[in-house]
Subunit: 668 residues, 2 copies
Amino acid sequence: MESNAKETVNSDLLKERQRCTFDTLELTHLLDGGPEKTAERREREIFFLDDPELKFKTPPEYLSHQDKYGEAIRLSCVLFRKIQELQKEGKAGIANYREILGGQIGSAIMKDGNPLTLHYVMFIPTVMGQGTYEQQAEWIQKAWNCDIVGTYAQTELGHGTFIRGLETTATYDPKTEEFVIHSPTLTSYKWWPGGLGHTANYAVVVAQLNTLGKCYGIHSFIVQLRDEETHKPLPGIKIGEIGCKLGMNTTNNGYLGFDNVRIPRKQMLMKNNKVLKDGTYVESPSSKLTYGTMMFVRVVIVQDAADYLKKAVIIAIRYSCVRRQSQPKPDEPEPQILDYITQQYKLFPLISTYYAFRYSATWLWDMYNNVSSELEAGMLDQLPELHALACCLKAISSTDAALGIEMCRLACGGHGYMMSSNLPTTYGLVTAMCTYEGENTVLLLQTARFLMKAWQIKVDGQKLTPTVEYLQSARDTVYQRNVHWIISTLQYVAARKIELAWQHMNERIQKGISSEDAWNQTSIELTAAAEAHGRAFIVSMYCTTMEDIKKTVSKPLRLVLIQLLDLYGITTAFKCLGDILRFTKATGADIEDLQLWLEELLTLLRPNAVGLVDSFDVRDEVLSSALGAYDGNVYERLFEEASKSPLNSEPVHKSFDRYLKPFLKSQL
Amino acid sequence: MESNAKETVNSDLLKERQRCTFDTLELTHLLDGGPEKTAERREREIFFLDDPELKFKTPPEYLSHQDKYGEAIRLSCVLFRKIQELQKEGKAGIANYREILGGQIGSAIMKDGNPLTLHYVMFIPTVMGQGTYEQQAEWIQKAWNCDIVGTYAQTELGHGTFIRGLETTATYDPKTEEFVIHSPTLTSYKWWPGGLGHTANYAVVVAQLNTLGKCYGIHSFIVQLRDEETHKPLPGIKIGEIGCKLGMNTTNNGYLGFDNVRIPRKQMLMKNNKVLKDGTYVESPSSKLTYGTMMFVRVVIVQDAADYLKKAVIIAIRYSCVRRQSQPKPDEPEPQILDYITQQYKLFPLISTYYAFRYSATWLWDMYNNVSSELEAGMLDQLPELHALACCLKAISSTDAALGIEMCRLACGGHGYMMSSNLPTTYGLVTAMCTYEGENTVLLLQTARFLMKAWQIKVDGQKLTPTVEYLQSARDTVYQRNVHWIISTLQYVAARKIELAWQHMNERIQKGISSEDAWNQTSIELTAAAEAHGRAFIVSMYCTTMEDIKKTVSKPLRLVLIQLLDLYGITTAFKCLGDILRFTKATGADIEDLQLWLEELLTLLRPNAVGLVDSFDVRDEVLSSALGAYDGNVYERLFEEASKSPLNSEPVHKSFDRYLKPFLKSQL
C-alpha cells in the first residue's frame, strides 16, 4: 500500500477534516510525549518505511508457504541490518526494538510475523537475565552481532501455560560434565517457538533438570540446533516447522525433539541456580527473580493490543466516512455510514478504548520498572499486586482488542473481509495474544487468587494494598451523570463480586469439599470477579491520567478528551449492566439517562471522529489498508490491490484447459 | 485428515464413551429423522468422502493463491461430475445439493469455498425464478448439463446491502433490440460474486433498467462473459478476481466491469416485468415475488451456522478430554481440561446452541415453504412476519455461531490457532455470514421496523400475528427455576424493550425530529429490541420443539435433552441479565439461584459431553481437524499435519544461503 499514491484526497474526508474542532497536531504531540518525540518517531519511520528493499515483492497472501518464508527471511535480514546501523549510531534503545520488532514498524514491514524476533525479544534477554557474567560474556556478544541466531524453546506439544508440567529432561552426567537433553515422549517435543522451524541455530531450551538422581524442576539451557556453516540440524536434533496457523505465518514457529543431545555443563544458565561439576545442585536464594521476563511480556501486550486496535479503528472510521449506504430520505443522497448511530456506537467507544488501555499500560510499565528495581534489592512486597494486575489487564486488553478489531472489520462490511483491508491479519495477530504468555482464563484465575487473599485481608481487618484498597472503601452511591459515579459503582460491583465468590468458595469448603474442588466449582464467579476488578481499574486509571492531562491541553482538545473518557465509562457500565443492577441501587431511570448520555456523546464526537484518528498519526504503510489510507481513495486502492493478485496476470488460468473445459464439454 | 488412520483410540476418550448415560445412536437417528435417513446420509458421505480424487494433494494453506485455485477447480469439477452421476440415478434432490455444495460434504472437500457453487445456488435458481418459460427452456438445460457455467453478479464495489443503489445500467436500444450493459463509474464494478473471477462464462447481472429515457430500477439480465471455447473475456468485459480474503479463498470471487456491452433483448429475465420490442416497460402485478430467493438464502444460513458451530464444538470437546493441564492437587495427575468448570461453561452451552438454532431453522424452513406456496397463490399476509423473523434469526445465529466457533478455538489454546485444527477456516466461513445476504445490523433494523408496526398494532388494540402475540400477553412473573419462567421473562423483557424504543422514537418525532432521523437516533435501542425479540423466539421455539420430542425418546436421552434446553435458557438469560434486572422483579437471590442451577447442569452434563458430540455423527473428513478426530490421537495428528508442510520437505530452506548466511557472516 503506497502512501500518497493518489494525488487527491477524497472530498468527504476533506470535509471531515475541516469540521474538526481541535488541533490534531496538539493531540499527536500529546500522544508522542512532545513535539521532539513526534519528530523522532517520524524520522525512524522514514528510515524504515521508505526503504524500497523493505517491501514484499508480492503481497504475502498470494505466495506459497515456502515463498512467504523466503521473503520473510529476506525482509528480516534487511530489517536487522538497519537496526544494526542504528545501533552503531547509538540510536537503538530498548523502546526502539519493541517498536521495530513487535510494534507498528515491524508489523508494517513483516505483515504477519518475523522469524527473527525471538532472537532479540527472548533469546538475548533470557541469557542476560539468567546467565552468569561469564555466560553473558561468551554469548551476548555473538548474539548481539548476529553471528548466531537464537530462539526460546519452552512450550511443548503437550504443555503450554502450565510450565511445571514440561517433560523435556536435562540429565547431568558428571562423568563427562555434560547435560543430556532428551525428549522422552511425543508430547515433550517443543512446539510453537518462533523462528525455531528453519531459522534459529541456537535456542534457550527449558527442561526438567535431573542431577544425582533427583529432579529439581525446570531450568534453562543453551543448545545448539544447527551447524553454523551448513545450517543442517545437528545429530539428535529433530526439527521442523509446525505448519500454517490462523496468523503469524511468517513467524516460522517450529517443533524440536532431542534424542539424547549432549551439551557442556556451562551451557546451563546459572545466574540463579547452579549445578557444580560433581553434580551438586546449588539453589538460589530467590527463585522469583526469573519471574521478570514473563511479566515484562504481559505488560508489553497491553500496549501492543492498544496499538493494533488503534490501527483498526483508524481504518474503520476513515472508511465509514467514505462509504455511503441506503437512502433513508428519498430526496437526499446516501449518507456516509458513519452518520448511522449504530455505526458510531460500534466505533467511537473503540477510540476511547485505545486511551484506556494505553494509560493502564503506562501505569503497568512504570510499576514494572519500579518492582524490578525493588526485586534487584531483594524486596518482593509489590510483586503479587503487579502480577495480579498484569494478569487481568493482559486478559482484558487482548480480549477486548481482538473483539474490537473484529467489530471494526465487520463495521466495514464485505470490504473488511478483504485481506487488503488489513483487518483480518490484524485480528490474527491480536487474537493470538489471548492465548500466548498465559491463556486468558488461567490469568484471570491468577488475579482471582490474589483477590481472594485480598478479601481475606479485608475480613481480617488488615491493611489493603493500593489497587485493592477500594474493597474497603467502595460505597453504593446515588446515580449522577458523571464518570466518577461510574468508577465508584464499578468498584462497588467488583467488591460485591469478589465478596460473593469468596463466600461461595468458603461455603463449599465448609460443606467438606476440598479447597481445590471448591476453587474449581466457583471458578465462573472467580473469573468474573477478576474481570470486574480489572475493568474498574482501567476506567479509574484512565480517569486519573486524564486529571493530569486536562491541565496541560487546550480547551478544545480537553473537551474532546473528556468526551472520550465519559464514553469509555458508559460503555464499560453497559458491559457490566447486569452486575450494576444486581448489586447497586441504580434504577431503570438511571439506565435511561445513561443511554441518553451515550447518544449525546456519540453526536458530540461525530464531527471529531476523523480528527481523532488522524491525530494518531499512523502512516499509510503502517495501516497497510486499502480502506484506511489517509487520502480515502478506498475504491481505487481496492482495485489496485486486486490487480496485484497473480491470478489476474493472465486472462485465462491454466486450470481451464486442464479441468474446466473437459468438464464443460463432456456429455453426460 | 484420514479417518481411522490410527488403530487405537485415546484411552481418555474411551473412558468418556463408557460413561455416557444414553444411547448415542438413538440421538443420531433423532437428529437425522430416523434410521433410514441416517443410513442414507452415511451412504452419501461414503460416495463423496471416500473418493481419493476428491482430496487436496497438499493442504491448501501451503499453496500459492494460483495453485490453490487450480486445485479448487479440479476438485469442484470432480465433485460436480459425481453430482451428475447422482442426478442420473435420480438421487440428487435439492436437500442433497445444499449438503454437497454449501453444507458439510462440500466444505469437507473444498475446505475454503467452491468456485462453482453459485452456478447451482444462484444462477440456475434465478433463471428459474425470474425467467419466462421460453428463457427457462433455453438456459436451464445448458446450465443443468454444465455446458455453461454461471454466476450471479449483483453486489458492486460501492453497493452491497442497499441494492436499490446499484449503478450498473442496462439501457434498451429499440433500434437493435438490445440492452447496453455499462459500468458508468469505478464504484459500479461488480465486486464479490463467487466464481466470477476466472470460472464462470455467463452471469445473471443485476442492473438499473433504462428504456425510453426512464429508469425502472433494478432488473436481471443474462450476460455472456467469456468465450465458450477459449474462455477469453469477451470484448467490453473487464474481469478478474478481487484478491485474497479472510476466508473463502477458493471461491474465486471476482470483479466485473462493462464497457457498453450489448446483449439481445430476450436476455433480460422477464417472468415478472418486461420490456417490449419497442421499449415499452410492462410492470408485473406483484413485485414481491422476487423476494423469495433472498429469503431462502437467509433461512439456509441459520441452519448452516448451526452446522458449522456443531463441528467446532465436537472438535473442542474431544480435544478437551484428551488435553490435560495443571496440577491443582499435588498428588494427582493433571486433569483433563474439560474438568475445569470454566471450560465446561465455554463449551456446553454451545452444544445446546446447535439445537436451539436448528429448531428455529426448521420452523423457518417450514414457514418459508408455507409462505412460498401462499405467494404463488397471491397471498402476502404472512410475508412480513417471515421476513422479520428471518432477518433477526439470520443475524443472531451468524453472530452467535461465529463467536461460538471462536470460543471453541480459544478453548483449544494454542493448538486451536493451528490451521490443522480446522477452527480458523471454520470461523472464516461463518463470520462471512454476518455480512453477506444482508449485513446483520441492517437486518436487525428490518426486524425492528416490523416490531415497531407490531407495537403500534398493539397500542391500537388490533390483533397481533402469532410471533408477536406475546407483546400483548407477556407478564412479569415470580422467579421459578424452570425454562418456562425464562421464556416468559425473555418475552416480557423483549416487549418492554420494544415498547421503550417505540416510545423514544415517538418522543423524538413529537419534538419535531423527522421520522427518519428519529429512527436513526433510536437505532441502538431498536437493534437491541430486535435482538431481544429474536432471542426470546429462539428459546421458546426450542422449548416447543422439545415438548414434542420428549414424548418420542427414551428416558435417559430425554433427561439429557432437557438439561441442554435448560442450559440454553439459562445462558440466554445471563446474556440478557441487565435487561431482566432492569425490567422485571427478578432479584439478586434469583440470579444466585440461576447461577447455582447453571453450575449443577454443567456437572450433570459433564459425563455425557463426548456422547453428545459423538451423536452428531460427523465423520473425521468433515471435521477435518487434528484436534477433533474420533480416535482422539491429537498429538500424533498434529505432527502428521506438520509433516505435510512443504517447508519440512528439506532440512535447510534455500533462503539460508541466499539471505540468512550472508547476514550472519557479515561483519558490522
